[in-house]
Amino acid sequence: MKASHVIWKERLRDQIPGPLGAEVDQFESEIVLRQQGKIDEKVFAETRLRRGAYGQRYDNGHRYDGTESRQLPFADKPTKGPGTMWDAPGMLRIKVPFGGLNPRQLEVMAELAEEYSDGIAHVTTRQDFQLHFIHIENGPSIMRRLAAVGITTREACGNAVRNVTACPLAGVCHDEAFDVTPYSHALAWFLMGHPDTMEFGRKFKPAFSGCAQHACGLAQMHDIGFVAAVREVDGRLQRGFKIVVGGGLGPVPRQARTLTEFAPVEEMLPLTQAVCRVFGKHGEKKNRNAARIKFLVDKWGIEKFREEVFTVRKELRPDPRWTDMLKDAEQAAEGPLHPPGELPAVNGDEKLRAWIKGNVRDQRQAGYVTAAVTLPLGDITADQLRALADAVAKYTRGTIRTTVEQNFLIRWVSKSDVAALFADLAAVQLAQPGASSVVDVTACPGTDTCKLGISSSRGLGGELRNRLVQKSYQLDEAIKALHIKVSGCFNSCGDHHVADIGFYGVSRTVNGYKVPHFQVLLGGQWENNAGSYGLPIIAIPSKRAPDAVDRITEYYVKHRTKEERFFAFVKRVGKGPIRDLLEPLNQNLPSHDVEPGLYSDWGDPRQYSIGDIGIGECAGEVVSRYQFEMTSAERLVFEAGLFLDAGNVQLAGETAYRAFLQSAKGLVQVQYDDVSNDPDEIIAEFKERFFDTQLFFDPFVGPKFANFLFAAHAGKGEQFTADTAHHRIAEAQLFIEAVHNCYNKLRSTPAPTAAKA
């Protein structure tokens, strides 16, 4: 752990918005509890994942060295989760709702990359940031520094609502119905930590699109997608969304189905809440491979699913936030810093010309453009981030977005600032042309850091990018328009299904050796809102994959009819001839002696092996809402003890009381989802459901433990002494045990305990 841990905690205490700060404090306590063996490893794994702290390759303590798999000499400590070594570096995913960031946030990202990671911040395919090689104990400091600038990692991983993505052109696009930014923002914060999202068996990804025809928002390939639409009611224009559910990539991609053609904006939050409740209640929990919402929609059919959602919607307890959070949505809009202008004369500056052609687009608002900042493989250095922050502050009102193509988009640039912006970006080598073109290859983390990686997606992505950039001046315009996306395995985190040419990693045995390969996928479409998914045609050795791209593109240029797009071309000529073209690349491979390079992967000289593949944490651990509530209760008792030790008796007693409430709520919610945080309501519900029914009574001491709860509640606001605080803590612990006993009795099969205590 870094020596500055305490410094940040003190220094940022007053700068962190309340709930975000509490969240980090909780995580910090959980780390301590886990180190003491007081939280079960599965529960810790899931709470860690829900805070964005993911595993990374080799964290199971094994590493293949080119000849054999060896044990890494990790210290013997409690694990971070099943088979996950405590000291093993991990990845931290940082949520960026709709990809929106300001200069200060970019600067903090730079600081964290330098101080805790490898100097690189990585932009993901879902508009997030990732830092790699993070030590778990540095998590709280990083989270505090992020929280102080309004960023959270909460629910970035695990079986939770993941980042809410949105089209990066929202608000400036020619084709949009309206700006989806404020709605995506509201949804992200509304769902975060929402009780109805606590019992998912799997992750849940929302996305917003401003229109139905373009890919930018990718609503069709998400668990829930919102497509902006406007309709006329009584001569008035009304904003709303087409809502689709059950889409997704992954091993077997699905297009989403329509939940409703039009939901007025006021219905967006409650309907989504209802979808979450239905998914949490009825979604598969045991079989991870069938637990995404798409399987529930398949099983029931969309009609039954819809009916259930609308029934649940009617039963929801009204929540003022459904409309409060959208109050200013129609006014909220980014605007320009500088007056509109005209594009500069290029005057023979070839670099500027190429950059404008590839990266600059007119906005709907005359005189303004958006400028794409392309990042190789989504990676950016700390110095580049600071320079970018300066540019954003200098040319805009301080806003920028990440994109699902792992780039940045600067918006609201006056056309008269374009040359100056280009010069500023070029000074830190951020002015590469070719955004969204064939050179702008997307790649998932793959074998670089991902535990499930089979082949080196980033290695291949980098190699393709290098080769294509070198040739880019000769490349046919038709080739330049292609999209290439690479995933390290079939899970498709690199979006390979929706590329013109997609790749995903597989392994094959050749001449007695394992050889890294990539499946080549054709028939996918980025356009038309990710309108169709590709299918694999043939597996090629990793080192031959660039040749496959050459062959495919040459064939395309030679045989396309005028203006024929790649998708239409593949449809017309069929996949057969293209497969024939590639077949020689995987036949008669030279022996290991002749070409050893073929038997290792891009950027990794070790003899290839699949021995490093671990158990991915993509599915998280299925932990029930009950377990979460009870883990919080246990943590509160623990914290109460710390406060007592520190002489803060009042806070100790009050925290113990909160532990009572938390555990009572944990039990109540088993029967009643909608129970609020209102202490009186929790007590009343507990009394009616568990005390009056005697369900909670202990076989030996009867109502004793329940009476502790009532006494604590009756004493609300009391002044504690060291003695009374001590009693309250001890009673809270006993009450928690009693809750577990009651829960176990209700379940007849014993419930997994949240803590070993």
């Binding site: 080799y58 060295d65 101080e115 790699h132 250095t381 670089d448």
Partner: protein
């Protein structure tokens, strides 16, 4: 002021005489052999696609080792990640000595192709919580760093230049020694 988490970077002398991607292989061998004392090496990160970036890194739990290209300057880099006991002087010495050892090992792996400066290196406190890049940090830290360097280099004939007045950067200094130092002597201290 307790200084922790030093980064030391000894600059390359002239242009690199090798393709930096070749270092990937060497670092993999280090990881396989766990050949750095008191550091558990985990992985190799190749980041050469990023311009003026962190280059190639042998990533460990306690420390990282890299052929680094930050600021467009190649050099061998040592980054201390966990807390080291002892005095500030001990930690300055650890940083410089370990960087020198790493430089020597890389030179051995690529005979003749890699040359490191015998006069120029950088020291950075990689922790803005401890040492923000302010005049106050400079005033507090520099006397300690100077006295530590006198001990490590065996003379006081060097000059410290604060990296950057930019408050967003980390606190760091470039050291220029008037008398050339021997990597082998530093490494063996």
């Amino acid at each position: 002021m307790e200084l922790q988490h030093f980064v030391a970077k000894i600059h390359a002398d002239g242009p690199l005489g090798l393709d930096p991607a070749k270092v990937v292989d060497v670092f993999h061998q280090w990881v396989a052999a766990q050949s750095v004392p008191r550091v558990v090496l985990i992985d190799v990160a190749e980041l050469l696609h990023v311009p003026d970036g962190p280059g190639v890194i042998a990533v460990g739990i306690e420390a990282d080792f890299a052929l680094d290209h930050t600021d467009g300057v190649w050099g061998v880099l040592y980054r201390r990640k966990n807390v080291l006991p002892g005095t500030n002087a001990d930690r300055v010495a650890d940083a410089l000595e370990t960087a020198a050892q790493t430089a020597l090992r890389l030179q051995e792996a690529f005979p003749g192709a890699l040359k490191f400066s015998r006069t120029d290196f950088e020291l950075i406190v990689n922790d803005r919580g401890i040492a923000p890049n302010t005049p106050e940090s400079y005033a507090a830290a520099v006397p300690e760093i100077e006295s530590a360097l006198r001990a490590v280099l065996g003379h006081g004939d060097f000059k410290l230049t604060r990296h950057d007045q930019e408050p967003r950067q980390r606190f760091g200094v470039t050291v220029k020694s008037a008398k050339p130092f021997e990597l082998a002597r530093l490494a063996a201290r």
